[in-house]
Symmetry: C2
Subunit: 154 residues, 2 copies
């Protein structure tokens, strides 16, 4: 069970940040989406201490974002693979990447491209209306609380 620092917030954004908002956590998910699965590879890519990495991986396993399974015995070594729930964070990670590409990468352009396996075209996150299929900008979206907003998280 994660510590619930945002526990006064009945909001799916806050709940999600409880799972992935800790420093390094979304970069671990990014690397897992890129195919990284082993402790040593995560550690080398992120340049963080073993204890910080272990605590983040343990939390992601507890939250059902990663599955841990042994890939070697004597000594036992584990690999960490994204669950389907974890893979669905791909949109969050690509939305962060795209915003950085647009606003932080500068004249040199993006350090990484994201392409559709089907046709090779560039992939972007977009807001889409499920009813009329229009691509929608954040300014064209209105959010409203539901009844559910008055109950705590289960």
């Amino acid at each position: 069970m994660l510590r619930r620092t945002y526990d006064s917030q009945v909001c799916s954004v806050a709940w999600t940040l409880e799972v992935v908002g800790e420093r390094w956590t979304l970069l671990i998910v990014r690397d897992a989406l890129l195919g990284v699965s082993r402790f040593g590879t995560f550690r080398e890519r992120l340049g963080i201490t073993a204890s910080v990495l272990k605590s983040r991986l343990d939390r992601l396993v507890a939250a059902g974002v990663l599955d841990r399974s042994p890939y070697h015995n004597r000594p036992v070594r584990y690999e960490y693979l994204l669950t389907p729930k974890g893979r669905e964070l791909g949109l969050v990670v690509l939305a962060l990447m795209h915003w950085g590409d647009q606003h932080l990468a500068g004249d040199g352009g993006p350090p990484r491209t994201a392409r559709h396996d089907g046709c090779g075209g560039p992939v972007q996150g977009q807001l889409v209306c499920m009813t009329c299929a229009a691509q929608v900008s954040p300014d064209q979206v209105t959010t409203q609380l539901t009844e559910r907003a008055h109950q705590p998280q289960p």
Copy 2:
């Protein structure tokens, strides 16, 4: 200038998290997207100390995510409004919200709905191929480093 804790990372995800990855920062952006603009209102909604809130707002202003302008003189009071760059974080925030709706909200359903102003339909973040217009799952996306990945951030 923000402290560059991820500075060994030539990656737009890491760069973006330098701007919005600190605790509370994305919840400030969320509230700004909901129309919150005044210090006291942010503080009341987030339940954080004035000094933490001030440091987060100052950083978001320095990063060009929020604009600060006076709305009252004697004493001077400021309001904080999202810049166009800041509003573009709407996709990140809605992607976090949607993931929480799907995986953390439980049987009660989402505490907040997001609807298209045009037709009232529900709005979701999706990955879309810019070439063939297909809706793409994270499993159908391959990313590749570019030349740019070998240069530091400008």
